[in-house]
């Protein structure tokens, strides 16, 4: 049994009458990439700020790397790396100056921990004389990650590293995280992108300050039990409106090039449902109809949990 690098017990925090997080319980094991998946306003950043000792909880307790987030906050801050959601480096310092600054704050140097950042830093090193403010979005992310790593932390907190970043840069960023995991780093990553859940070892789905589910991505999708179909025709908007009227339809929503149709229950056989959906759409004058069973994704599960 590996040991827990992050533990949270009944953490709650309110701002005035707004409850930002409510009774959060979770534990992250050593070497795990743990995803906190939820939309803006779900409480992700509040939880990050509490776990990194920047904000006191109203109630509950938490430890990071075995250190209490309240009593041991000074030591805690030396063993964690925190990359906030908003780009928070010095825009008017160069790439290299930023890195040097963060290294010196933690009493170390670029040279001392160069190995750890090398795979990432080499990609931005050609621009080391450039001011951070003049970097592209993807390069800013890489620099921020280097600055977060330069003091060799045990636990990384990455708050929405993918927000506002294009799909290609996001994918590169996740490749970097997986490399870091191989070196034993523990990571808590938050994201509003449901498809990134698949890249985590375990995830917590969070909405309105509460965790709706915690499991492996596979475990989450296995909990989705109702029949799900992927359906398409030439007119998506009309298709969704019509499918909601289909007898036995529990829910219907757009999902990429298909609409996902969730049925109340498996009445007879999947095949029968498929052909009856097809016939139903024909009667509604849809063209180029395609109906097939669909594998539920984390996003399907999130939508279902939100509606319950």
């Amino acid at each position: 049994m590996s040991k827990a690098k992050i533990t949270a017990e009944n953490l709650s925090k309110s701002y005035g009458s707004v409850q930002a997080i409510k009774d959060i319980n979770l534990s992250v094991q050593e070497g795990e990439i743990f995803g906190l998946i939820g939309p803006d306003g779900a409480g992700k950043t509040t939880l990050f700020r509490i776990l990194t000792s920047l904000l006191l909880p109203d109630s509950g307790a938490a430890t990071v790397a075995g250190l209490d987030i309240v009593k041991d906050y000074k030591r805690l801050r030396t063993v964690i790396g925190y990359m906030p959601g908003r780009f928070s480096l010095y825009q008017d310092l160069t790439v290299e100056e930023n890195l040097e600054f963060f290294a010196s704050v933690f009493g170390t140097s670029i040279r001392e921990n160069y190995d750890l950042i090398a795979p990432i830093y080499v990609q931005i090193e050609p621009f080391k004389e450039r001011r951070a403010g003049a970097l592209s979005g993807g390069m800013k992310q890489k620099l921020a990650l280097c600055c977060t790593l330069i003091h060799k932390p045990e636990v990384l907190f990455l708050d929405e590293p993918g927000t506002g970043v294009d799909p290609v840069s996001r994918k590169e960023f996740w490749d970097m995280l997986r490399n870091l995991r191989q070196q034993g780093l523990t990571m808590l990553v938050s994201t509003p992108y449901m498809d990134e859940a698949e890249l985590c070892d375990r995830v917590a789905l969070i909405q309105k300050g509460e965790i709706m589910a915690i499991d492996t991505p596979k475990g989450i999708t296995a909990s989705f039990r109702q029949p799900l179909f992927a359906v398409r025709s030439d007119n998506m908007y009309q298709l969704i409106k019509d499918l909601r009227e289909f007898e036995g339809a529990a829910d219907c929503y757009a999902f990429g090039e298909y609409a996902h149709l969730k049925l109340e229950q498996l009445s007879e056989s999947w095949k029968l449902s498929e052909s009856s959906i097809h016939d139903f759409l024909l009667s509604k004058n849809h063209r180029n109809i395609e109906v097939k069973p669909a594998e539920p994704t984390v996003e399907d599960c999130f939508i279902e949990l939100m509606k319950n």
């Binding site: 970043v165 994918k171 992108y193 939100m306």
Partner: protein, 241 residues
């Protein structure tokens, strides 16, 4: 079908940097057009030109029949715009925001009143009408911002990452508003980093380093790149992987 946007060799440079490099394309009236590209590909610069906020260095473009160089003010009157970063005033109430935008676009007080009632009813936020916009959940704000952008009945609305950070359920409700607007004849030009949303567009273009490298329906684009989904098309184009 008539074109509501038409550009020819549209170019914008900043010093030596070519942000938008001779792009030529059309957007048809009533379509949902996905305007995609990696960070720094030139999307924002192109959008600024098309909304009359920035003058092109060379080339030409017309939006709703007006020239972006000579008639930017005419364009601004006829378009709607919303983005995640700037949409509504957080320290004004829902009702005040609607009144402000209605006033800016020259609607009569009586029109603003009747439109406000319809809008609140449609979004089912009549009870929140006198609350500050800043106190609303993000998803509500975005739906409200979109409805406000449609208030003066523009022919075309520009949506710059309208669903960034929004929960999956609200994201879909938002897209249903987009579909509905398109069904009413409004043209929509949308940028997004969610590739599943690229699939919801009638046609999409993908910008790479200032140029439009591909423009087609999502289905045709996937076929020509031999890709499973738009995510794969995007990766192949933007990074050649």
């Amino acid at each position: 079908m008539t074109n509501i946007i038409s550009t020819h060799q549209l170019t914008r440079t900043f010093g030596k940097f070519i942000a938008v490099n001779a792009i030529t394309f059309e957007v048809r009236e009533g379509e949902i057009f996905g305007f995609l590209g990696a960070n720094g590909a030139g999307k924002t610069t192109a959008l600024k030109i098309l909304t009359g906020l920035l003058s092109p260095s060379s080339g030409s473009a017309t939006v709703a029949g007006f020239d972006v160089k000579k008639q930017p003010e005419q364009i601004k009157r006829r378009i709607g715009y919303m983005s995640q970063k700037f949409s509504l005033y957080e320290d004004l109430t829902v009702r005040e925001n609607i009144r402000l935008y209605g006033g800016i676009y020259g609607l009569k007080m009586s029109e603003i009143k009747s439109k406000t009632a319809i809008l609140l009813e449609k979004l089912q936020i009549t009870e929140e009408a006198d609350k500050l916009v800043g106190s609303l959940p993000l998803g509500w704000k975005q739906k409200l911002a979109f409805s406000v952008a449609l208030l003066h009945e523009p022919k075309i609305v520009f949506l710059d990452e309208p669903t960034s950070g929004v929960d999956p359920l609200t994201r879909r409700q938002f897209w249903e508003l987009i579909y509905e607007a398109a069904a009413n004849g409004v043209t929509l030009m949308v940028t997004t980093h969610y590739m599943d949303e690229a699939e919801y567009c009638d046609r999409v273009s993908i910008m790479v380093s200032g140029k439009i490298e591909a423009l087609d329906t999502p289905r045709a684009m996937k076929a020509s790149f031999g890709a499973e989904d738009m995510d794969e098309v995007f990766r192949k184009l933007a990074r050649g992987v």
